[in-house]
């Protein structure tokens, strides 16, 4: 029976090719626009470390200007970063299972005796747990040891991309590399890793690629490195030397901890509060005690990683899909009613309402399937167009990388949603045509 309905559907669709093309086109366009906007929305709002959402916490403390909140729009929320001294003091706690303090810098890497041009790379100064905490994959080698952080030892982890540029992709563990003309030894090569958004540092955009080079945090003082991300201050301070800068109220360090259970969470929170109270008693912070441990999902919300533009676009995409579906319903209805005399004959010859309904539903299914397939192809083209819109410089493809990294789940979700919506939209015309009394159409014309 299904085969016969399918044959009927194709025959009917071929009868009005213009109308059929219009319907399929409307479904395809609606699906394409939805696939595109939902993919973008997911890329910007997904939690890229959801499997560790219960144990990872961003550490923030409110040591900001006593007169003014850090965020105009979100009073009461502490700043995203810590001062150098606060970060070091809290990092000394051994309560967390894992912990890290870090910031971003820029450096020039070069290799002695090799005919490769020096390369400017974004560099993360961090502590050894960075890779284990965020489940960063390694191609070769691994992280550095505890002692390397404080030494600091001249050790470095580089990305797979840089390894390919400088060493042709060979296992470079143990090789030497110069960073701002200081010799480092490679201990690990990070495999491709693209957390979207880059939740661990939301200071300078969240669709950037992760840094290509990682060196121990202790090199800050040894090489007097300033942050290449945001440094924010509120207090007028006379800063003459790097040491003055480290001791200042400027915030520029990010901190994360891994607390596996409620007990360690409670102990660490108490430790933080205790530290802040001590600082207050020493006369430093007139602000209210406001220490926070924030999970990754809440962290992305607090920092407004999803822009308002993005929300508006998702709303627009659904309005668009709604119009496309209304259009399809209207056209299907018109088409079915146009064909009502034939349906009348079929009813008169003994077809039940249910059979008429099913027959028309198969026709709807054909339209939805072709529309969805075309919509997917069109969505892929639109996504390519989107990438082109975001590429201003072909050599600097960080933002583009992010959008190139379309995950299958979001496409499948959008597609399934749109397909089901189209079928649902087709239910009414199919039902309506089944309700028509056959006699009225057998009489006239």
């Amino acid at each position: 029976m299904f085969g016969y309905y399918l044959e009927l559907a194709f025959r009917n669709l071929k009868r009005n090719p213009g109308l059929t093309a219009l319907m399929i086109g409307a479904v395809a366009l609606g699906i394409a626009v939805c696939v595109m906007t939902l993919t973008m929305y997911r890329a910007m709002s997904g939690n890229p470390i959801w499997w560790k959402n219960d144990v990872l916490y961003a550490v923030t403390m409110d040591f900001w200007d006593p007169e003014e909140d850090y965020f105009d729009s979100k009073p009461g929320l502490p700043p995203q970063q810590l001062t150098y001294n606060d970060a070091l003091a809290v990092y000394a706690s051994d309560i967390p299972k894992r912990k890290l303090i870090m910031h971003k810098a820029v450096g020039i890497v070069s290799v002695d005796g090799q005919q490769v041009k020096p390369e400017r790379v974004l560099t993360r100064l961090t502590t050894k747990d960075f890779f284990a905490m965020f489940d960063v994959p390694f191609q070769y080698g691994g992280t550095w040891t505890d002692g390397a952080d404080t030494g600091p030892e001249p050790v470095m982890v580089i990305s797979r991309k840089i390894n390919e540029q400088l060493f042709g992709g060979a296992n470079s563990v143990g090789r030497h590399i110069r960073w701002n003309d200081n010799e480092f030894r490679i201990v690990g090569v990070r495999d491709n890793w693209m957390p979207l958004p880059t939740f661990y540092d939301v200071n300078n955009g969240s669709l950037e690629e992760p840094e290509d080079v990682y060196i121990p945090f202790g090199w800050n003082t040894a090489l007097e490195i300033y942050s290449a991300g945001n440094t924010n201050g509120w207090k007028p301070e006379d800063i003459q030397t790097y040491q003055d800068f480290l001791n200042s109220e400027n915030i520029w360090i990010q901190m994360w901890v891994e607390l596996p259970d409620a007990q360690s969470h409670g102990r660490f929170k108490a430790f933080l509060d205790n530290y802040a109270t001590q600082q207050k008693n020493a006369g430093r912070h007139p602000r209210k005690l406001n220490n926070r441990l924030t999970r990754p999902d809440q962290w992305l919300v607090d920092n407004e990683v999803v822009s308002n533009d993005n929300r508006v676009l998702v709303g627009l995409a659904f309005a668009f899909l709604a119009v496309c579906l209304l259009n399809t319903v209207g056209l299907l209805l018109a088409k079915f009613l146009n064909n009502a005399p034939v349906t009348g004959v079929r009813r008169a010859l003994g077809a039940s309402r249910r059979q008429i309904f099913l027959q028309h539903l198969v026709e709807v299914g054909v339209v939805s399937t072709i529309g969805a397939a075309l919509g997917l192809a069109l969505g892929a083209i639109l996504l390519m167009g989107l990438r082109a819109l975001y590429t201003t410089d072909p050599t600097d493809a960080a933002g583009t990388q992010a959008l190139a990294h379309v995950d299958v789940t979001s496409v499948v979700t959008a597609l399934a949603l749109a397909f089901l919506a189209t079928i649902a939209a087709g239910l009414y015309p199919a039902w309506r045509i089944g309700r028509i009394p056959p006699a009225s159409y057998l009489k006239a014309q």
Partner: protein
């Protein structure tokens, strides 16, 4: 019965209301989206088109990064600037700490009087360290005062510090001294209470962050930026920008093995980058809204075509009893106009609701009713245009059709 036959048209419509309601619903969504999309796009286009105050068409930025241990910043920038200034077609060149409109920069708080200041008395400004050619290289207009003299330029220092002199924008000066129209020679103060004398006022100039409400507050300090990373600003003679860029790359590319010439870029690069999201949002809105209206128009067209094709005999009958072709066209256009208007009425409510949501989200003023009126007129025109072809086809139906099957 009026000449427009409103009642019979309405009752005919009511008998086949499902299709008409579907189209009216599409029109309602179309109007709500159209009105708000035009409103948001207008905001973005205005934002992107703001005057920058600078000669952006002829500005070039050069980034050099010293990395060798024996890299000599002082010798390097002197050499580079001398080489750049010797290139034919270069009007002026300056060493500058950051690039305006690039989304990267420094800002500080200043005050009109020394001593403790409340947040309300603190005036924020985008700060730049520049040399004596900066005013000429930026292409900004001094409304009063003078540029920096070569002997006023201070040597680099490691940390963030103000200087005893500054050139500031009019917007910044006005916020500091609301009552003084020409405060050249007056002093303002940094957070540590150090005085800064104003030597010149810039008519208008943009700072670092296009989304910041203090974008027009700029403070230039006469100081050489510290190394080893350096940015040079070059202004070419009108129309010679691209040639000058090639010459800079050729001259500076391999002149010093202890540094990397990172890039030479036109000012447009940074402006485009800063407004990328606004531009893309405008493009998305225009294309999706355009597609949405096109689909809606096709829906109107489809409904009208269907209505014509199911009433061929009735049309023939009307023609046979004396209706002119004009009457048939008018019948379908009026019928269509009724559907459109029902959609428009519903859409007005939707447009205002979405407009309210957007004004809250973006902290924008409430949707201007002018946009709503414009949107309604546009939808009426689109609706009539979409129904015109089916209506005219209906009018060509021969009166003979009426008698054929009887």
């Amino acid at each position: 019965m009026t000449a427009w036959n409103i009642r019979p048209i309405a009752s005919a419509l009511w008998r086949n209301r499902t299709g008409a309601m579907l189209v009216a619903f599409q029109i309602a969504i179309g109007l709500a989206v159209l009105v708000n999309a035009v409103y948001v796009v207008k905001q973005r286009v205005d934002k992107i088109g703001r005057p920058t105050g600078m000669d952006t068409a002829n500005m070039i930025w050069v980034s050099s990064a010293g990395f060798a241990k024996d890299f000599d910043h002082d010798a390097s920038w002197r050499q580079d600037l001398a080489a750049i200034r010797a290139i034919p077609g270069v009007k002026a060149a300056s060493i500058i700490s950051n690039i305006p409109l690039s989304g990267s920069g420094s800002s500080s708080g200043f005050q009109a009087k020394p001593g403790e200041a409340t947040p309300d008395e603190t005036v924020a400004g985008n700060t730049y360290l520049v040399d004596e050619q900066a005013i000429a290289a930026l292409g900004v207009t001094l409304s009063s005062g003078r540029p920096f003299e070569p002997q006023e330029i201070l040597p680099p220092i490691e940390t963030f510090d103000s200087s005893p002199q500054a050139i500031v924008t009019k917007a910044f000066a006005k916020e500091l001294f609301p009552d003084d129209l020409n405060p050249v020679g007056k002093s303002f103060y940094d957070g540590l209470g150090k005085p800064i004398a104003i030597v010149g006022i810039i008519e208008h100039m943009h700072g670092a962050w296009v989304g910041w409400d203090r974008l027009d507050n700029v403070v230039l300090f006469p100081r050489i930026d510290n190394g080893p990373g350096t940015i040079y600003l070059v202004r070419s003679e009108p129309g010679r920008r691209d040639g000058v860029m090639r010459d800079i790359e050729a001259k500076l590319g391999d002149s010093n093995p202890g540094r990397l010439l990172r890039w030479v870029r036109p000012m447009d690069y940074f402006i485009n980058q800063s407004y990328l999201d606004d531009r893309n949002m405008a493009i998305f809105l225009v294309s999706v809204t355009g597609a949405l209206l096109a689909i809606t128009a096709l829906g109107i067209f489809g409904l009208a075509t269907f209505n014509v094709s199911t009433r061929i005999r009735q049309i023939g009958t009307r023609r046979a009893v004396g209706a002119r072709r004009m009457d048939i066209v008018r019948h379908f256009l009026v019928e269509n106009w009724m559907v459109t208007t029902a959609g428009v009425v519903a859409g007005c409510g939707g447009a205002l609701a979405i407009g309210y949501w957007i004004s809250v989200k973006y902290e924008l003023p409430r949707l201007d009713l002018f946009y709503l009126v414009g949107g309604v007129l546009a939808i009426w025109v689109i609706g009539l245009a979409a129904a015109l072809q089916p209506a005219r086809r209906a009018s060509t139906i021969s009166p003979a059709v009426a008698s054929r099957t009887v």
